[in-house]
Amino acid sequence: MNPSDQISIPPEALGHPLIDMLNLNRFIFCPGCLIGTVITSITRCLKERGLTSKDYAIVSGIGCTGRSSGCFKAPAFHTTHGRAIPFATGIKLANPKLKVIVLSGDGDLFAIGGNHFIHAARRNVELTVLCINNNIYGMTGGQVAPTSQIGDITSTTPYGNVEPPFNLVSLAAASGATYVARWPGYDTLRLQKSIFKCIDNQGFSFIEVLAPCFVQYGSKNRLGDAIEMLEWLKKQIRIKVDWPPHQATFDFKRGIIICGEFVEEEREGFSKKVEQVRIKAQNKKISRRIKDSE
């Protein structure tokens, strides 16, 4: 069908309760994908906190989730592949008043952008990073991802994947993130509770959101359609409290995915540290000593 033949429904007519904060014309996601659910969950949290578009910025990388930033009526940045976190770091450090939310996929954040993730977590930059994990590269045609599991069939592992995946929760915790959680994307209540904590956390916060891709992952691994895949996922979810991050099992073969909050720690964020450097630098005694030693 020619796009101009489509009956265009003005977004206002859809009566979406978050229409003031969302641009529905930029929703390009497959019906049944949980990316939309995550976008509305974030938006609900921002709205409930009374935050408006001058209080936050949304940054995304490349891929299916990369397209999510456009759905927000806010300063929204669709950057290059892998660079969402450094872009967001620049925003946060240059204007620490802003809440900066990074929304990207597992390939973007952990393959091409992996280095930025571990360093931003190490610095404890005050960012909220949501990784929408579908265990595969969706937009480029279903290639193996650093989160694909051993044996997975993908476009580039036709004989089955032989690489072990990253455990994103363990990786985030080991890198120094001060809030780490994992939830299935359909569990919006727990997810929103976590997003609130991320917004309030004065450090690097990370949520891994499980969002199965039935178009690429599901079809190649014979897991059914969108609903069947959600049921398949639901059976594997085990919600745990006070569970150590290095034991946050994520194993489709054994059918166990541990979900919950794994790290909640108070540690001063990076922009506060940068402010302390300014105070030192503006102390004449200290700056003179540094100059003399050069």
Binding site: P75, A76, F77, H78, P86, L93
Partner: protein
Amino acid sequence: MSNASFQEKRILTTGNYACAEGAITAGCLYFAGYPITPSSEIAAYMSRRLPQVNGTFVQMEDELASITSCFGASYTGKKAMTATSGPGLSLMAESIGLGVMLEVPTVIVTIMRGGPSTGQPTNASQSDVYQTRYASHGDYEIIVLAPSSVQEMYDLTIRAFNLSEKYRIPVIVASDGIVGQMMEVINIHSNIELVERKKPQVPPEKYKPFEAFDDDLVPGMAIAGTNYSFYVTGLTHDIEGDPQMTPEAAEVLIKRLCEKIKKARPQINDWEEKHLEDADTVILAYGINARGVPEVVEQARQKGYKVGLVRLKSLWPFPDELMERIGQMGVSKVIVCEMNNGMIIREVQRFQHLFTVSGITIPTTIPFSPKFIYEKLIKEV
């Protein structure tokens, strides 16, 4: 401003320090970089100075992060800069295209060293002239300035900020290992004209991030933290910022992005010229390699040769109008001197219908001595 290091009118300093202080003078408040010889002193200087002026210095995990974090900072309204050398600029290549697409004012300083690959980290070079122009994929225009002295490291860094703010584009200062590291006395001017980016020209509800109202084709720039909502993307987009995959959208966007720089050539291009009025032969050089040329020209003129000099202070966009003027003035020969296998010479060769072009183009790491250029010159004239 509290300018602890540079209060005096005349000071002795290095090119890299002068560049960094120029950035502070221009109002730079954000620097992100990654250590690389021979540019590292810029980062070290910024790490000391920026916190003094309430700015932010951060040493990132790599150059990819450095440049993109500068874009983020610039989109909050702060002037941002990064500094690197050839290998680092290679890593920034993809993001330079993003900067062009997002139309984000940023300054990138590259202190050229020998290449390819790791090359000669501690030596100078002019072999990255094409890299500065063509680093990123896609069809785009970029602004590149070429300082040849410590004074110009200061002046042209300030100018780079002004141009990047005015035209909303990453501006590259292409210096080299010698100009960056050498010491010279420079003058610090007290009244420097600073340019600030164009603000949105309409209220938030009417704002479209890539709608250009003026003849300069530069849209007003909204920043994060204000009442303006906007979506910017590296995808081909329309004036609303919406991704558009039609051939028409590509043509409209790319033409505007290129045209805004091309039509500003008379304002952007900058050079020094001498004795063009009666010159028969002109020596064209830039950067550190231009330092010996004035002596050559004066000696040749004393011997009766009608030789003139053109020293480019901006390399890209290439000053076509200058070449045409040289041709109209009756110059019959242009000799291009550069420390590479011939890069700018190919641009000059586009004007071979106006004058003949020859070159002294050697991929060396030391600038040509006046004696060397002189001997080549008298064989040619």
